[in-house]
């Protein structure tokens, strides 16, 4: 019954990296959650529980062949879209966005799991239509429909960050199919033409964030404040940082949203450039391993799935860090394994579970 090759091909390195990053994340969160009086806020313990729960889930998932899971990809995705629509109308509002459903003591952010089901669904579609020589416009109708059906409910929550990630994953994955050159040209030129109109669909606060990103000094006390304080935090970390729990920007709360959007700034301030370099190297390894797994996969399903998950990690990591160093407007994109939040942590671990799963079954 049990195939020894599953263990031989288990990517211990990837799992080790993930556990290491999570460990760093927990240390970082400890600094953020400890008040000056020495009390530790429950966020810290909750995050540890989520990691443990996530790892348990991981060992269950890797025992199910991903091909059996991807079979039901469309059903999973339809269910999550329905949940998204439910959230849109009945969800709990936090920070002005309808992102949460409350189930007893826990709140779930369904847009997180949507990222995974979207990747599954798109991987299934592209794999099953791979034989086509090249996609023309009408062949792209289904993927476009899939994108729009996922994008809009998230966009209207509004959660511009996650919606953007969905779009970027779509583009990333679509790079691996053959699109007819004329069609590609047509799509790109149409998007460029309609780009300015997109601006009018943005909500006021979103427009504001973009404007402030372009010029943070525009409003140094309100929205621009976050970016300025984050840059100060990162920059003042220097080569070796200010030391654990000694970051003045974070401890004295000049840095906003420390446990979510700006966790990296806390890390950068307290541990400095060397630790940032090391952490980024670990993140790079995840994306790199993901893509290698994609190329070594025994099935096209596995390749597309691994590509999608690599894309997910790549975009979240780079956008979050770009945000903290003032190279991208402030949108709610978490840093995998670092940002506090159960939904984000579980989905990141789920992504890793799929990568491990594909790698274990790369034998032909």
């Amino acid at each position: 019954m049990f195939d020894r090759r599953l263990i031989i091909n288990f990517d211990f390195f990837l799992l080790f990296i993930v556990i290491l990053i999570s460990f760093f994340g927990v240390i970082n969160l400890k600094s953020i959650c400890t008040s000056s009086g020495g009390e530790v806020s429950p966020f810290f313990y909750k995050q540890i529980y989520w990691i443990i729960i996530g790892l348990c889930g991981l060992f269950i998932i890797i025992n199910i062949n991903y091909l059996n899971i991807i079979k039901y990809a469309y059903y999973f995705h339809i269910i999550t879209i329905l949940v998204l629509l439910f959230v849109l109308f009945f969800g709990k509002t936090i920070y002005g966005s309808q992102r949460w459903i409350v189930l007893g003591p826990i709140s779930i952010q369904p847009s997180e799991i949507t990222k995974i089901t979207f990747i599954l669904a798109l991987a299934k579609f592209y794999t099953e239509n791979i034989s086509q020589k090249s996609y023309v416009l009408k062949d792209l109708f289904m993927p476009a429909l899939l994108l729009i059906a996922t994008f809009l409910p998230i966009y209207f929550q509004p959660d511009l960050g996650t919606a953007g990630i969905i779009l970027l994953i779509f583009i990333f994955m679509s790079f691996f199919i053959n699109i007819n050159k004329k069609t590609l040209f047509f799509i790109v030129s149409t998007v460029l033409v309609f780009m300015p109109f997109f601006w009018f669909f943005l909500k006021d606060y979103q427009k504001n964030r973009v404007l402030i990103f372009l010029n943070p000094e525009r409003d140094p006390l309100n929205t621009g404040y976050q970016v300025i304080q984050s840059k100060i935090a990162v920059g003042s970390g220097g080569l070796l940082g200010k030391g654990f729990m000694l970051g003045t920007q974070s401890q004295l709360r000049f840095l906003p949203e420390q446990h979510t959007d700006f966790v990296f700034s806390v890390w950068a301030e307290e541990w400095g450039f060397v630790a940032c370099f090391f952490l980024l190297l670990l993140f790079f390894s995840i994306v790199y391993r993901g893509l290698i797994i994609a190329s070594e996969s025994s099935t096209v399903y596995g390749s597309f799935l691994a590509i999608g998950i690599s894309a997910l990690f790549f975009w979240q990591i780079s956008i979050n860090i770009f945000m903290t160093i003032g190279l991208f407007p402030v949108v709610g994109v978490p840093l995998p394994f670092f940002t506090y939040g159960g939904s984000s942590m579980l989905c990141s671990i789920l992504g890793i579970a799929f990568l491990l799963n594909i790698n274990m079954r790369k034998f032909k």
């Binding site: 053959n178 840059k231 220097g238 840095l255």
Partner: protein, 602 residues
């Protein structure tokens, strides 16, 4: 679907593209690395500084300016706490809302508050913006109780100067104002900063270097909401030194009350040591108006007032002394042995010199007068005679001996020196020889002669003590860091007059007040012998005697009276000048009487 044949081709194409993607992603990460290198290594110091600026606030702890106390320990000038409302923009997330709350809470105009904020919007966000000065106590506690709803709002306790006497003695204390560039340069930029308060006049100005302390500082760590987390360093302020002055506040108030409605001054001195007992001027002002900076309108009303309330008349009002000066002419004549005091001279009411006629104030003349009678009745003709005998240069020599024509050296910067004419002075100034008629005018204290009340008071100290002219002084002690710097008596001029001549003059001055014919009879005090001399100084020469009240104010005579008492052992010299007041004996003598009796009968 899934033709197996194609699978390897598909995988090949995917693998090729993965290589491209890995390349692009590597570039992305290299870009992030270089950006972090730029922020943390190249710009690290700069950002570190910014993070320090973020958390460290330096607040000034104001020092307390030295107080001014009377000899008896009464506090005359002190500091009281004043509560200022300010806003630190950095600590205020929603400025509009906080300003609205404040305007509701304190009943202040919201637009006005907003304007104050907008004006200083571009300053560093951690610098407090002053919203309202001098909150009353109840409003201050109201703000403190609602502090939770008012993030970034601070109450600063600022010491404010308070002049306990209010309207009284403004010219002694002077007033405060914001330092200008000239003053900053003078006092040095180490101790003073732009916007600091300095003494602009009076003792506040004279004693600036003593009164000014050194502000302390507090270096605190704050969080993003402006809450103080811990104190890093604290430098305590050094308070200014107290000044003890010789003024008698009760007498000072009395003198100013007596001067009310008039323009003039009263100077009272101790003839032995030169201590100023009273230095009163009228009209005055309330120095409390200047404590936190005066507004344009009030300043205008003070400077545009035709009676010049800011003027320290006792030191700055230069007027002809009139008959008060006759004593100096008499001493000059006696000491130079130019006349025999007992020799009588006939006064017909006028004196002819060449073709000009010089009048005596008494139209019908005094008849035969000796020196004593001439002093008692203030006969002008007698002094025309002896003035001519002794000569202008002797008169001016003695006037200088009495300290006229120069600053008395009282502890103020803006004292005027007056003028004592002489033949060489006139030659130098006008290039013309001295005229005898001018000697006549000078002998009775008119003509070119100009004196200030403080000079006259100091001069009569010499007659009272018979030995010297003391330097008038107000500052007795400066408490210097626990030690005391004591200012001792100073003698400006030694007088070497014969005792016989001095006692003759003193007798004449006693008679001038106490004799039935004396001009100073309004200064008679029961049980105390007062010696004094009246003076009525002409502003313009009048051809005929006319009713004083019909003459325009500006052309009316100045009324002088100077006295010392008790005559045998003088304790006080009082000099009164009422500008355009009329006859000295009528207007000035009663004021001197009140001061002397209050001082000696306490």
């Amino acid at each position: 679907m899934s033709p197996k044949l194609n699978e390897t081709a598909v995988e090949k194409s995917i693998n090729n593209r993965i290589k491209i993607v890995i390349f692009i992603i590597t570039l992305f990460f290299i870009f992030i690395f270089s950006r972090l290198w730029y922020l943390q290594i190249i710009k690290g110091e700069q950002f570190n500084e910014l993070s320090v600026n973020n958390r460290i606030r330096i607040t000034k702890i104001p020092d307390s300016r030295g107080r001014i106390l009377s000899k008896d320990g009464e506090i005359l000038v002190k500091n009281i706490p004043s509560f200022d409302l300010s806003l630190i923009p950095q600590d205020t997330p929603d400025i509009n809302k906080v300003l609205k709350n404040i305007s509701k809470l304190l009943n202040l105009d919201f637009k006005n508050l907003l304007r104050k904020y907008e004006k200083k919007k571009n300053r560093p966000p951690f610098e407090p913006i002053l919203l309202k000065e001098e909150l009353p106590w109840d409003k201050m506690s109201l703000v403190l109780s609602k502090k939770v709803d008012l993030p970034g709002i601070n109450i600063n306790v600022v010491p404010k100067r308070f002049y306990c006497l209010g309207n009284f003695a403004p010219h002694i204390f002077g007033f405060l104002g914001k330092a200008n560039y000239k003053e900053l340069k003078k006092y040095g930029s180490e101790k003073y900063h732009l916007g600091d308060i300095v003494g602009k006049d009076g003792l506040e100005k004279w004693g600036e270097k003593y009164l000014k302390g050194k502000p302390g500082g507090l270096q605190t760590e704050v969080d993003a909401f402006g809450n103080r987390k811990k104190i890093l360093t604290e430098i305590s302020p050094v308070n200014g030194q107290d000044i003890i002055i010789s003024i008698n506040p009760v007498l000072q108030k009395k003198a100013e009350d007596l001067l009310k409605g008039k323009a003039g001054s009263v100077v009272a001195m101790n003839p032995d040591n030169g201590e100023i007992i009273v230095l009163a001027n009228s009209p005055g002002f309330n120095p409390n108006l200047f404590a936190r900076g005066i507004n344009q309108k009030k300043w205008r009303s003070l400077t545009d007032n035709p009676f010049h309330p800011m003027l320290n008349r006792a030191l700055q009002s230069q007027q002809p002394p009139g008959s008060v000066f006759k004593i100096i002419t008499a001493i000059a004549a006696l000491e130079e042995k130019a006349v025999d005091p007992h020799k009588k001279i006939f006064c017909s009411g006028s004196y002819k010199l060449g073709r000009r006629t010089f009048r005596c104030w008494k139209k019908n003349g005094h008849g035969w007068v000796d020196m004593k009678k001439a002093i008692v009745e203030s006969c002008d003709c007698y002094f025309y005679n002896i003035g001519l005998s002794v000569g202008i240069d002797n008169i001016s020599k003695y006037a200088n001996m009495f300290g006229l024509g120069e600053k008395t050296g009282i502890d103020y910067e803006n004292e005027k020196s007056g003028l004592v004419p002489s033949s060489s002075w006139k030659n130098k100034k006008y290039g013309k020889p001295w005229q005898k008629g001018e000697t006549l005018n000078t002998s009775i204290g008119q003509g070119f002669l100009l004196t200030t009340p403080i000079q006259i008071a100091a001069a009569y100290c010499g007659i009272a003590n018979g030995e010297y002219i003391p330097r008038p002084r107000i500052i007795l002690e400066i408490k210097e860091n626990g030690q005391e710097k004591v200012f001792k008596k100073e003698i400006k001029h030694k007088l070497n007059f014969s005792a016989k001549n001095l006692s003759y003059i003193r007798d004449a001055l006693i008679a001038s007040v106490n004799d039935p014919e004396g001009t100073g009879r309004k200064a008679i005090i029961e049980n105390i012998i007062v010696a004094g001399k009246t003076g009525t100084a002409q502003v313009v020469s009048k051809k005929k005697n006319v009713d004083e009240k019909k003459i325009p104010y500006r052309l009316r005579d100045h009324a002088w009276f100077v006295a010392f008492a008790p005559a045998k052992n003088p304790k006080i010299v009082v000099c009164v000048l009422i500008e355009h007041g009329g006859h000295g004996g009528v207007v000035a003598a009663p004021i001197a009487k009140e001061i002397i009796s209050k001082y000696l009968k306490k």
